[in-house]
């Protein structure tokens, strides 16, 4: 799994550099976020600009990541587009986590 991690203040931006987030990488993604949470991260932004497709396992991993942040942490997403945007709409992910249009917008709101 390819993830580029940047830190801006106390916001950790994870650029998911994968076209498909499916069963093949879902467990790794879940572990990655859980590890950040364990290290004390409280604000994580998933940049999904590169992601064209996400299946049910991938969605499960993102939500599991959010849950591993616990009550004190925040996991947001940005650059959600195409089939992933459709999936988020169908599954009402707006009720589960905050979605920003761009990294800058997320920075302004939670950075």
């Amino acid at each position: 799994m390819l993830i580029n991690k940047r830190t801006k203040g106390d916001l950790i931006v994870l650029d998911v550099a994968e076209k498909r987030v499916d069963a093949a990488i879902a467990p790794d993604l879940k572990e990655y976020i859980a590890e950040l949470a364990k290290q004390g991260a409280t604000k994580v932004l998933l940049d999904l600009a590169a992601v064209e497709f996400m299946d049910s396992s991938g969605l499960g991993a993102v939500v599991a990541g959010l849950k591993s942040m616990g009550g004190r942490g925040e996991l947001a997403v940005c650059n959600v587009h195409g089939a992933v945007a459709d999936l988020f709409k169908l599954t009402r992910m707006d009720r589960v986590f905050t979605k920003y249009a761009t990294v800058d917008e997320a920075m302004a709101a939670i950075g």
């Binding site: 069963a23 879902a26 467990p27 879940k30 859980a34 299946d55 049910s56 396992s57 969605l59 499960g60 991993a61 939500v63 599991a64 959010l66 849950k67 591993s68 709409k89 169908l90 599954t91 009402r92 992910m93 009720r95 589960v96």
Partner: protein, 412 residues
């Protein structure tokens, strides 16, 4: 290590045998190829020092026989020769000799060649040992695989037995397609009368995230949980009339959005494991008022055929999948059904089914196919969809479970 010394000359045998015994080797003697061959077959020496020319069977012939016999362990073969011509060397190698040693015998050279041979035998022995262990492991794996496959097949048979037969309940005809991806499926569906008066029909279609064994285990459980239990309360029906929505004679149904919300609280993943959840549509049809009410949780939008409009359209209100996060409120959609109206519930295994170019079958292709079948019997529409998917995929080994549940108002 035991060495077999083969030579028809007793003095020569004595010289070689003495050198080897002094160096600590266990030595056996044979006076020609025939005797050596008989000894090799019973005592299993792995090292042979053999003269070339002997009566009855010479060294070349003995080497050839040893190689052809394919002994379980490799036999290292040194050919003793007075000759040093290239053509002899070639003939010896060709027969299967590993090394040559020329007479007269030089003690140091003989021992060096024996040690070189022993190194090769030791390597060989290590490889044999490894191969034996690999073969053992391979056999065990094959047995385990066969057992798992057999278990999976019986699980698949049990799962199929849970599926209801195509049936007509009141005015509603139900039919379906079911192609599990790995023997067993994470997809499940069902339909039944919810009350004693046979006024309310309940139905569902669900898709557990992932597929294979873990997903199918949850689908088995859900199949049981979603059954109405006559005279007792279950997640879909109540024994009393507390909801005020029932028929008044005892059993009554739980509104779809509450069924889904109830499942959502019951099936929250343990700890932070939100990896196991499911998407579903649960619905109820009131046969008296013709009213269809359903709740959709992360599942693809059902396709509704309104015969009067001549069109198939996706319907529903999107909702969060079940078991992902607690405390979600769900909403239901209602539709009135007229004669010939149809509702299709399906899993994303259909719309995300990819052809060889990696293109998804897609919602629009599905919608058009269902719409084109407007004047065909429901069973035929279903078969056409099955055929179209197989043709799209190129074979019938699906990456995800492919299931469709269809219902039609067949009453007046």
């Amino acid at each position: 290590m035991r060495i077999l010394v083969v030579d028809d000359s007793p003095p020569m045998r004595r010289i070689i045998t003495t050198i080897l015994r002094k160096a600590g080797y266990d030595v056996e003697e044979a006076e020609d190829g025939v005797e050596a061959w008989n000894l090799l077959r019973v005592n299993g020496a792995r090292f042979v020092v053999c003269d070339w020319q002997m009566p009855r069977m010479d060294g070349l012939e003995l080497a050839r026989r040893i190689r052809e016999a394919k002994f379980e362990n490799y036999i290292y073969f040194i050919l003793l020769t007075a000759r040093d011509q290239k053509s002899d060397l070639v003939a010896g190698l060709d027969a299967g000799a590993d090394d040559f040693f020329s007479k007269p015998v030089n003690k140091d050279e003989l021992l060096v060649r024996i040690r070189a041979g022993k190194r090769i035998l030791d390597l060989e022995h290590g490889l044999e040992e490894r191969n034996r262990k690999l073969n053992e492991a391979h056999d065990k794996l094959q047995i385990a695989y066969a057992t798992i496959e057999k278990d999976l097949q019986s699980a698949a048979t049990m799962q199929r037995a849970l599926l209801p037969e195509p049936a007509t309940l009141g005015a509603i005809l139900f039919d379906w397609l079911y192609y599990p991806s790995l023997f067993v499926a994470g997809d499940m569906f069902g339909y039944y009368c919810l009350d004693g008066n046979e006024r309310y029909i309940g139905f569902y279609h669900l898709d557990v995230a992932g597929h294979g064994i873990p997903a199918s285990l949850l689908s088995f459980t859900l199949n049981k949980v979603l059954l109405p239990s006559r005279g007792e309360s279950s997640i879909v029906s109540r024994a009393d009339d507390a909801s005020g929505l029932g028929s008044g004679d005892g059993d009554t149904f739980v509104p779809p959005e509450l069924v889904v919300a109830g499942l959502n609280e019951t099936f929250q993943g343990q700890g932070s494991s939100a990896m196991q959840y499911f998407t579903m549509v649960y619905g109820v049809i009131d046969l008296e008022t013709r009213r269809l009410t359903f709740c959709q949780a992360g599942h693809p939008y059902p396709m509704l055929l309104k015969r009067a409009e001549g069109r198939v359209n996706p319907v529903g209100i999107a909702g969060v999948p079940v078991g992902m996060v607690p405390g979600i409120n769900y909403e239901s959609t209602t539709q009135d059904l007229d004669k010939g109206d149809r509702l299709f519930l399906y899993s994303d295994g259909i719309t995300e089914c990819e052809n060889v170019k990696g293109e998804a079958f897609g919602e629009e292709q599905l919608r058009r196919l269902l719409q084109d079948g407007i004047d065909l019997p429901l069973g035929e529409v279903k078969e056409r969809l099955g055929g179209a998917l197989r043709a799209w995929k190129g074979d019938d080994s699906y990456k995800d479970d492919v299931t469709l549940l269809a219902l039609e108002w067949t009453g007046s």
